[in-house]
Amino acid sequence: MVGIFIIGIIMLAAAVAVIVVRQPVHSALALVGVTLGLAMIYLILQAEFLAVAQVIVYAGAIMVLFLFVVTLLTAGKEETETKDLLSGQRWASVITGLVVGVGLAVVIATHHPTKLATSLSSSFGGLHPIGQELWGPYFLLLAGVALMLLTGAIGVLVLNRTEGTKAPRSRPLPHGVSVSDGEGESRP
């Protein structure tokens, strides 16, 4: 119980860090912290397999991907956010977000879930039961996720394939001249 509180507070701090720090790299690192914190909470909630999956897939694969892209795109640049030109966007977002969040929190606070009398089996959340579910009744959903991952792979290929005739460019041109089809907008 205390563990959840501590981890929760750290995790929330990391989450806030994700959205307030200036450097995308720092955001990504903070997000790694959030996912690791989540994995620990999963463990406390007896979702062992998911805790492992969270670490491997999220903190491992996904966050590495994020970090990679962040460093690729912002390498050598001081990524400072310019002034927010959308008037009131920040205020309105924070206020609506808080309203929704507080509303949901009130909902949760007033909800008293039924507590089951039976005790939790010791294997709950382990590899065996979740495997039984995934390869049993929910097999098609697993197949669906597999198809999505395939889609993701195709997507990366399709989207960043270089045009046949033009040589790939590894580095952005100074004035942002178009890379592939001459439609790029020139920016100082």
């Binding site: 959308l86 966007q89 977002s93 609506t96 977000g97």
Partner: protein
Amino acid sequence: MQGLTEILLLPLFGAVTIGAFKSLAPKRYAGIWASVLLVASFVLAVLADVHLAELAAGHRVISGTLFNWATGFGPKIAWNIYLDPLSGIWLLVITGVGALIHIYSNGYMHDDPDRGRFFGYLNFFIFSMLLLVLAGNLLVLLIGWGLVGLASYLLIGFWYQRPSAVQAAKKAFVMNTIGDVAILIGLALLYFRFHTVTYAGLFSTFAHATPNTAYFEWTAVLLFIGAMAKSAQFPLNGWLVDAMEGPTPVSALIHAATMVTAGVYLMARLYPLLRLAPDVAYAIAAIGAFTAIYAASSAFFQQDIKKVLAYSTLSQLGYMFLALGVGAYTAGVFHFMTHAFFKACLFLAAGSVIHALGGEQDLNQMGGLYKKMPWTTASFLAATLAISGIPPFAGFYSKEAILGQVFNSGHGLLWIVGVITAGMTSFYMFRLFLLTFFGAPRNKKLYDHAHEAPAVMTVPVVILGILAVIGGFFGSWLNGWLAPVFRMYPGASHAALEAGPVFGTVITVGLAVLAFFIAYWLYVLKRTAAKAGISTWPGKWMLAAYGVDTGWRNVAILPIQVVGTWFRDRIDQGILAAVVGVANGIWLWAEDLRPVQSGYVRRYGLSIMVGLGVILAYCLTRV
């Protein structure tokens, strides 16, 4: 179904084949083919009516279902076909007069390079009109109603090279759309209350309904607005005169004989509804009477031969609505029938004149044509006598039937308006007739080239002329024929034809004859030019020349004329402006909303978030 399907589908078949083979077959075949189909349709229509007559008086209905339109959810809706004596009359007139006009068009459109398209449209119009009158429920009627509007739009704008024609077509479309929407709402009100749209179903419900409730009043008003738009009743009359931009046979067929009477048909068909909404019925009568006199006064100074006829059509339609409004249903239908004969004759004869003069429609360029065009002149004269209500021509009987019943039902004011209009009708029609065919030729060059129309045009005109002479004698037959329709409903005591007071007849005919003499004196003896009086303040010249008439004119005609002109300019424009204004308003409003769609993803996200907050709040308050 006694050939009803064939009657309906022959013109459609014609339209489709003409459309498909327009560029393949020689052009003259289009007209012949269209006419042949329509004559066949007419023969079938006669057979169907004969069959109808053979049925017992109380059961004169042929009904059937082409196919089920929708069954499954909600009430069953089918394409019902329904022929009773009322639609039988319309059926005969549409196919009969339609066939004559088709034949006539073979001559009239002879030199038009695009006549394949013309006949395709014309056949399509006939199909739509037949669908309208043969409909067994209001939904099919509405579809026919919309399609005739479309056909009318296409035919008014037939000569799309003329900007005025395109403009006129647009105007007709807009005004008709107002009516269509009104009728749609009315239909919706009926359907969603009674869960049926068939005549039989609705009428059986009406029989037990409480009259004079707001529901029936509103429904009747909405349906009447639809009828007003289609039949060009004040204030939705502006489009009809402009519609004369279409070819003359179109004016004869659509804008005189058939389509514009669709409103009359609708009101006659829904007479049980009018019975439930007596206030609306009175309003119909009043608007009809006002349209009659207003249009008649407007016709006085027209310079265009077709425009005079257009105003007279308006005026006569006003009579029909007057009849329906006071409950004289049979008289209204009777007048529709005779009007179809004489007005089609007038238009076709006018078409012959225009044809002979190489497209000239200005009265100032005509005159003395009776020597060159004897057949046309004779037919035109017969029809003019008919419309003026001179006994024993057709219009006399039908108009007397209407006025008599207006008087009998105690609508004194409306009766007076009707009588005065009858006199005015006589005046402007004889003015038109005399200016066109008598007096000295005003344009020598055109006159020299003028010639009698070919037989293919003259014969239909003469046939219609004969009908205009004898049409009135069908009155008693019509009375018996329509009796089962209008007696189906209790309380329709005035539906049958009645005789009015003798003094009424004397006054009406006297006024008509007097008007003829005035016209004769003015335009033949005094040789007044057609355009006299229009450039100056109207009536100034009259004041100087004929002191006797001045007071009468000042008191009766001038105000109406002034008001009429004012209305024609303002209300007409006003309605168009309102439609345009609404459109522009929507446009501007939409333009104002566009910046909300700012292109910024974060704004879009915020919109989602705000929406989420609202929905969440809503959900939480509902528990």
